[in-house]
Symmetry: C2
Subunit: 388 residues, 2 copies
């Protein structure tokens, strides 16, 4: 595949916001296009990642709508959906478009507006990504599945409830310094433990919020990249992998490992020609606290059952050896589902360019990896970005 | 881009069917995989085109669901949506995946199950692809917009109501011989004219039905193609183009031309290195009778205002010089929106392989073109398939 670069990124604040889905997408897109300094050149392609705009907002047909409102007509426009990994899947589709030569410059927008419906409706919409006959029918929810996974992990590896709380504590510590995060305040282990139980053993602070927000990136061929931005602003897409697992958790070989992460990571690392040891900064999908630990193990950053050691030692902090979710992760940055995969790219690119928010910059990173989950652990995309 | 081949196709009957969306997708997919004789090799990628399964059926997350049910896990799986051109957009995404090298063999499924909701609900769901503030708010529907276009076209070019009826008459004549078509009976001009008015001047027989159905194709690199099928069964993807237009009809430069078709066709023909004169068989998006005439003009098959001449002379019949919609088009084959773009590919491939249903085979075609519309005329994909 020919070399592909991220030459611009943009992002709205995440949270419960007043703006419409269109306004959010526009703000992120204009941010990314301005960042790419593409005043003279328009993208010849738009890809939109969004999980379920029709049911969350009543607004459909985002592909043409955004192409029209952003002045991109007649560029081809496509919406991509794989549940909460819709953003990363849209990024992958954009990569394929440039990689195949069907496009030279692609604007990829990830967006979700979830707060227009009440929590019960949101939960129903989100539960559609689970197996109805195996899970939803019996009262299963994403949080309930995460609780089952957490309980089993605690049983198998001796993880304590207090240790698990270190994940949201770190997320909130980083989010407190990220001006775009949904939650910008620190929490303590005690606060996590004393907050309401969502699905035992998980409390409110183990679960990411439902958020509104958008993020956007501009992908370009080498020719376009050279025309628009200084080479040190261009971050190369070194590898990308996409894999699925069985829809229902009960059909999988393991409960405490998400095999689609393993498969997607293998594809992405192999394409990039690197190993996990080469990675300087990580964005992992921590929709529930337990997932950050499992992601670390599945992606090759930690040994089975030992991810918590890296949290306890401070290794996954911004100034540690293996910084994970430096801008707050899904827990504190927020999780507007279709936007998350692009927000991860945005935050990694800013890290690699040395432009992270004050207090969150990792020391001279050269390679970053992000990992986005769709469904409950069954549709993963892993991307490797770097300076080369 | 490296050469890409369609090595297998499958399709369900279209109509108001008892099967679920999952059963429809499976039947089409298994048909395509069997046709590709891929007993020993699994696709390494799945792309699903579907407009709005969540609201039409209550079933979400089709990407992982189908990967699971078809035994494709851990292959990456993505759903693509661009309104009623979701099928063609999924095909394009599959082409980009193989073209970029991210995949070597892609199963592309187009599916829609529209009959689970009543007609009023279906109409509401479909109207989401229009501009709410410019069209839907004032009572606009796709049929109403098509009626405005038809009225203007009749005014500008002197087309008569009787002449326009030749489009559905031809569609039904061909559909009557297609065992997979939604409608398999002929109609007369008198029948078209005397059927209930949907939006003046369009009657019931000027409008495609809402249908259930699925179609699937297998895309492959040259290496995979050579391993699986005889070379004369492999149909090459010679060109593909995708373009948008302004969302609202009133914002467009012309009412009687759909510029996204012009743009997408230019891209596709240029990539294929052919002109419209080289095309032996056409699949054009005739969701409303007037669109077939406009499509013919926009895509370069007929002069402005003269498409009807080719219908009157019989040139667009199966045995004519420019066969259009030989298997019934959207009008008679039916229009399960996300499935249509893949059904067009299926029918073209069967034509190019000399395997069209009895009475519908064009004489030794070598190049076929299909054209799928998303939104009301604002998100088009044109594909060129051929034997080379």
């Amino acid at each position: 595949m020919r070399p592909i670069y991220v030459i611009g990124t943009g992002m709205t604040r995440f949270g419960r916001l007043d703006q419409s889905i269109t306004q959010l997408a526009q703000e992120a897109a204009i941010g990314a296009l301005s960042d790419a300094e593409s005043l003279g050149i328009k993208p010849d392609r738009l890809v939109v990642g969004s999980q379920n705009p029709d049911e969350f907002t009543g607004q459909g047909h985002l592909s043409t709508l955004f192409a029209d409102q952003l002045g991109l007509v007649p560029a081809g426009a496509t919406r991509v959906e794989t549940g909460p990994s819709a953003g990363a899947s849209a990024f992958e589709t954009g990569v394929a478009m440039v990689g195949s030569g069907l496009a030279d410059m692609v604007l990829v927008i990830g967006v979700e507006k979830m707060s227009s419906v009440d929590r019960g409706t949101a939960s129903k919409i989100l539960s559609k990504m689970m197996s109805y006959s195996n899970e939803t029918l019996y009262g299963g929810t994403p949080a309930a599945l995460a609780a089952i996974v957490a309980r089993r992990y605690m049983h198998d590896y001796g993880l304590t409830r207090e240790e698990l709380a270190l994940v949201p504590v770190k997320a909130h510590r980083n989010g407190a310094k990220n001006p775009l995060a949904h939650f910008q305040k620190e929490v303590t282990v005690e606060k996590v433990l004393s907050s309401p139980i969502v699905a035992d053993p998980l409390t409110l602070y183990d679960c990411c919020p439902t958020s509104d927000g958008a993020a956007a990136v501009v992908l370009a061929s080498k020719e376009i990249m050279r025309e628009l931005v200084p080479e040190d602003q261009a971050i190369q897409v070194l590898g990308i992998g996409h894999a699925t697992d069985y829809l229902a958790v009960q059909h999988r070989l393991h409960v405490t490992s998400l095999n689609a992460t393993v498969e997607a990571a293998n594809l992405a690392f192999s394409m990039a020609g690197i190993t996990p040891a080469d990675v300087d900064v990580w964005e992992l999908h921590d929709a529930f606290s337990i997932l950050e630990l499992i992601d670390m193990e599945d992606i090759g950053l930690a040994q089975r059952g030992h991810a918590i050691d890296l949290l306890r030692s401070g290794d996954t902090e911004v100034d540690g050896s293996y910084p994970v979710n430096t801008t707050g992760g899904l827990k504190a940055r927020g999780h507007p589902t279709g936007a998350t995969g692009i927000a991860q790219i945005h935050d990694l690119v800013r890290q690699l360019r040395g432009e992270a928010p004050p207090g969150l910059q990792v020391s001279e990173p050269e390679i970053g990896v992000c990992h986005n989950i769709g469904g409950f652990g069954n549709n993963m995309v892993v991307s490797v970005l770097g300076i080369r």
